[in-house]
């Protein structure tokens, strides 16, 4: 036996740096997308079961598919199902809006709530609700216009070939403050009608039913399909404006389309659920860390994750503090606020960059 064996490893040609025959993230993306879908379904089912009255799976089944007038039917079909569905689509819209906004602003902190896009939508929505209630059917459209105008203002104020983190937050604070003051003025001027919009303002899907679902579902479907078209734009823009231009891409046109898309999604969500913040920030951010920044995967994953987060949070908010129902917006702010602070803290170094 050789006692002084020299312990040097030699590498054969096939060894050395690992060669991949497919994308290094391919497996992880698949796992994340599949497990998000499954979890979303499971959590939605759980959300139908849980609450002041809890049901078993078979009772849920009866409630969903047996239309005779039972307790299950009234609670599961009339109350909980529309609420769960709205939770899913609102979450999808908010998270996609956040992801797209981050892509176009080139800024990971661009959340419709934080930068004031949601408030813009909210202000117009409140005006419709308390001054022109006859036009309530146009609520999503009105909220979208409010969001769009606000976003264009923010973009004009903060875009310098990119948006610095500091600048976008400052502009957002100012916009939120200005809109907040308009909002307060409205509340005082129309104090007799304010009661109706208060729960909505807190950001919740407490009172929603099939009416609200029908109001938004067509908008949602159109917006989510259009959102798929934004993937290509974001991918090219991510190469940087110059390179995108050099590849023949219409940069300005495309950025405008993306702003329209994200505000459409945010506006729809706001019109039914009021001011729910942080979903658009937290969900894409976490997913980006796991599956990377390719929007072909990040956007669908964010949509699924957003739906999941809102339904889960709403289920907790309405059952954990029984008999009090917390608006889901408050619970999400409770989680999202600290997360936001953590993100700012983490980027302490090159804070001015993007």
């Amino acid at each position: 036996m050789e006692s002084a064996k020299v312990n040097v490893r030699t590498y054969s040609a096939e060894e050395g740096p690992k060669q991949h025959d497919r994308h290094p993230l391919a497996k992880r993306r698949l796992i994340v997308l599949v497990s998000l879908s499954i979890t979303l379904i499971l959590v939605s089912l759980f959300s139908l079961m849980a609450g002041a009255v809890s049901f078993s799976i078979s009772e849920i089944w009866n409630g969903l598919f047996d239309s005779s007038d039972t307790l299950e039917r009234r609670i599961v079909w009339d109350l909980r199902l529309p609420r769960v569905l709205i939770g899913v689509v609102v979450g999808m819209c908010l998270a996609s809006a956040g992801a797209i906004l981050q892509g176009v602003m080139r800024n990971p902190l661009a959340d419709p709530g934080i930068i004031g896009v949601s408030s813009g939508a909210g202000l117009v929505a409140v005006i419709i609700m308390i001054i022109y209630p006859t036009y309530i059917a146009l609520l999503p459209l009105a909220a979208f216009i409010g969001a769009l105008v606000t976003a264009l203002i923010i973009y004009a104020l903060s875009w310098r070939g990119g948006t610095s983190v500091v600048r976008i937050i400052l502009v957002g604070v100012a916009i939120n403050a200005i809109i907040g003051s308009f909002m307060s003025a409205l509340m005082l001027l129309y104090s007799d009608r304010v009661q109706a919009v208060l729960p909505w303002l807190a950001g919740g899907i407490g009172g929603v039913g099939w009416v609200q679902f029908k109001m938004i579902i067509y908008y949602v479907m159109i917006a989510l399909i259009l959102a798929l078209f934004s993937i290509k734009h974001i991918r090219v823009l991510r190469l940087g404006d110059e390179l995108a231009k050099l590849l023949g891409h219409h940069v300005e046109r495309s950025r405008f389309f993306l702003i329209v898309m994200s505000t459409l999604l945010a506006g729809i969500a706001v019109s039914v659920s009021g001011l729910i913040g942080f979903v658009g920030l937290v969900v894409p951010h976490i997913l980006r860390l796991i599956i990377g920044g390719d929007y072909r995967y990040l956007l669908p994953a964010s949509a699924l994750g957003g739906g999941l987060l809102v339904v889960l949070a709403d289920t907790i908010a309405r059952s954990a503090f029984n008999p009090i129902e917390l608006p889901v917006g408050i619970l999400l702010a409770f989680i999202g606020g600290p997360f936001f602070l953590y993100l700012i803290q983490r980027r302490r170094g090159p804070v001015a960059g993007h």
Partner: protein, 259 residues
């Protein structure tokens, strides 16, 4: 191939490009040299329509570039800017596929032709084994080749490169220069590149354009351009000029008086 006519451009009162009249011929390798801030990048950006001139015009294969469609410019002309974002989380193959972007319909998939060209670009830049590696995990030289692969996947007739070898070590610099030569000789690509290394410029190009303060001072063969007076007046240095196997080279000696 690419003609600039009485081109004027102004960044500010402190810097203007004045009266640039150049005609780049098909099949040429042209090097742009000059001190920092002399306007080399600005000139390439004008030529690639990233910025528009104050006056004058640019013709690309006979057509005024100003009135061409963005995607049509991109089918004929590719350019790699000086600053590239190396943190992109794309694989080499994904990056190179972007080179096909101007040739594709708005939302259409990669055609077999696109895939063939992508593969060709990857092979010619010797990146086959890096296809599925993330861009940020590559070495500087590999990364530079990946960017070039993207640009040539556009199948441009003319390729503009802004300092393609800066930040590379000497062997990787030569690798890039050999690649440029290969593209020119075997695929007829016209190349205009900004280089800092004047010896490399002299060795690899047939024509050198020297810029200073936004003006073209010399535009000729390396042998004509590499003269003591040029180094004096443009770079303010004393230089020794010598020839070897038909090519001209120089060695910087000392800072001379400002010319």
């Amino acid at each position: 191939m690419l003609v600039t006519k009485r081109l004027d451009f102004e960044h500010s009162t402190a810097f203007q490009l004045e009266d640039i009249n150049l005609s780049i011929q098909k099949g040429e390798i042209v090097s742009l040299v000059g001190p920092n801030g002399s306007g080399k990048s600005t000139l390439l950006r004008l030529m690639s329509r990233l910025i528009s001139p104050k006056s004058g015009e640019i013709l690309l294969v006979g057509k005024a570039i100003k009135s061409m469609k963005t995607e049509d410019v991109a089918k004929k002309l590719a350019m790699l800017p000086q600053m590239l974002d190396h943190q992109l989380d794309l694989t080499v193959a994904e990056l190179v596929e972007f080179g096909r972007y101007p040739h594709r319909g708005a939302y259409s998939k990669l055609t077999t032709e696109d895939k063939k060209v992508t593969q060709w670009a990857i092979e010619i830049t010797k990146l086959q084994s890096f296809r599925n590696r993330m861009l940020h995990s590559l070495s500087g030289g590999e990364r530079q080749r990946a960017w070039i692969a993207m640009a040539i996947a556009q199948r441009p007739e003319i390729l503009l490169l802004d300092e393609p070898t800066t930040f590379l070590d000497i062997s990787h610099q030569l690798e890039v220069m050999e690649l440029v030569k290969d593209l020119n000789e075997n695929f007829g690509m016209t190349v205009v590149m900004v280089l800092h290394d004047i010896n490399q410029a002299a060795r690899y190009s047939e024509r050198m354009i020297v810029l200073k303060n936004g003006k073209v001072l010399y535009d000729s063969t390396p042998t004509d351009v590499l003269r003591r007076e040029m180094f004096q007046s443009v770079f303010g240095i004393d230089a020794n000029i010598y020839k070897e196997s038909g090519k001209t080279f120089f060695t910087p000696m000392k800072l001379g008086k400002e010319g």
